[in-house]
Point group: C3
Chain length 143, copies 3
């Protein structure tokens, strides 16, 4: 089960510019393409938001669950006027808190040239303060 | 402090089938064995749940704290009937939300052939919807 | 975009001993120095708390937002007397729960010899139970 080889590193950036302020976008296929382009057979793939008001996480691609997630996030990290961060002119403190709960990144295993995900695992980009260009980095390291 | 070498990658899967719906299982020893089998001396070890309703995290192996964690998780992501996800016939939306809070994975440092953990750090598999076979992947990369 | 090379691994520990029980400390510069010392040009940098009552996360270096984060964390994982963990003589169960929400670690991409962060991303060490020496590990792997 131990494999050896020359290390390869591959980098790619994806830009999102969502129509809505909050969106959940399935990005599994984009990550699969990046893994293919990397030619890495065994390794790790970091997928990480490059902003503070978005997340990358793994969940189920089920519309009802997505609604549950949005309702729940709004309850735990509600949009409201009177955050101290808003004294700077911003209005997105809730988006920062939503990022803290759901975390900005995942690290994915690559096995035999493919993302080694469980049966229902899909990768999502969660936008909490969109309508402007925002980036995600994909960094793959392996053999 | 910079070490060089040939890259090795090691993969292992662990299957859990818990008796109870919710369980917290200490898996530090299993991960230590995997690190030994990998023969990696310096590197990273990803431990990641392959499902959407379980987590892997690092915490203290103290029974009182575990009870606190369960009570707290139940408060932040309560089990209840009327999640939209349940229209699909599922009843585990709370388990998805518990996964989102506690995150599905950890990345562990390996130094001098051993997991480089702090004095009280133990690795746990947290099952939020068990009583069926569920897998965790261990992916080790290093020299 | 695929780069190849000999694998290097670099390890460093940072010790914090905060004056206050709770503190948020910007550590971006320390991590940048470690990346320089590693001489890694392309790879991953794990920054992980070695304790159960502290976190490492990425957020904005804005004082108002930091106050929002502290208030919010206190609401979601409040300090109180009657946690079961406190039967052991400890009084820091809230710090364990705050760690679970904000996660203990981040994995950072390194590109062209530099941390590949977004425009506002700063790395923070969040201390939830300080006033004693506590460590963070930096583990860098790449080419």
């Amino acid at each position: 089960m131990v494999k050896e080889g020359i290390t390869k590193v591959y980098t790619e950036y994806i830009t999102f510019n969502t129509k809505n302020r909050r969106e959940l976008i399935r990005i599994t296929d984009k990550i699969k393409e990046a893994v293919k382009k990397s030619s890495v057979k065994e390794g790790l793939c970091l997928v990480s938001a490059m902003h503070l008001t978005a997340s990358v996480f793994i969940q189920d691609d089920e519309e009802g669950l997505h609604q549950d997630i949005w309702e729940w996030l709004e309850k735990l990290a509600p949009f409201r006027e009177n955050y101290k961060h808003h004294l700077t002119g911003e209005d997105n403190a809730d988006a920062h808190l939503k990022n803290l709960i759901t975390h900005l990144q995942v690290v994915l295993p690559i096995t035999e040239g493919k993302l080694d995900l469980g049966p229902w695992q899909e990768i999502f980009y969660a936008e909490y303060d969109g309508q402007r260009p925002k980036r995600v980095i994909i960094k793959i390291i392996g053999i």
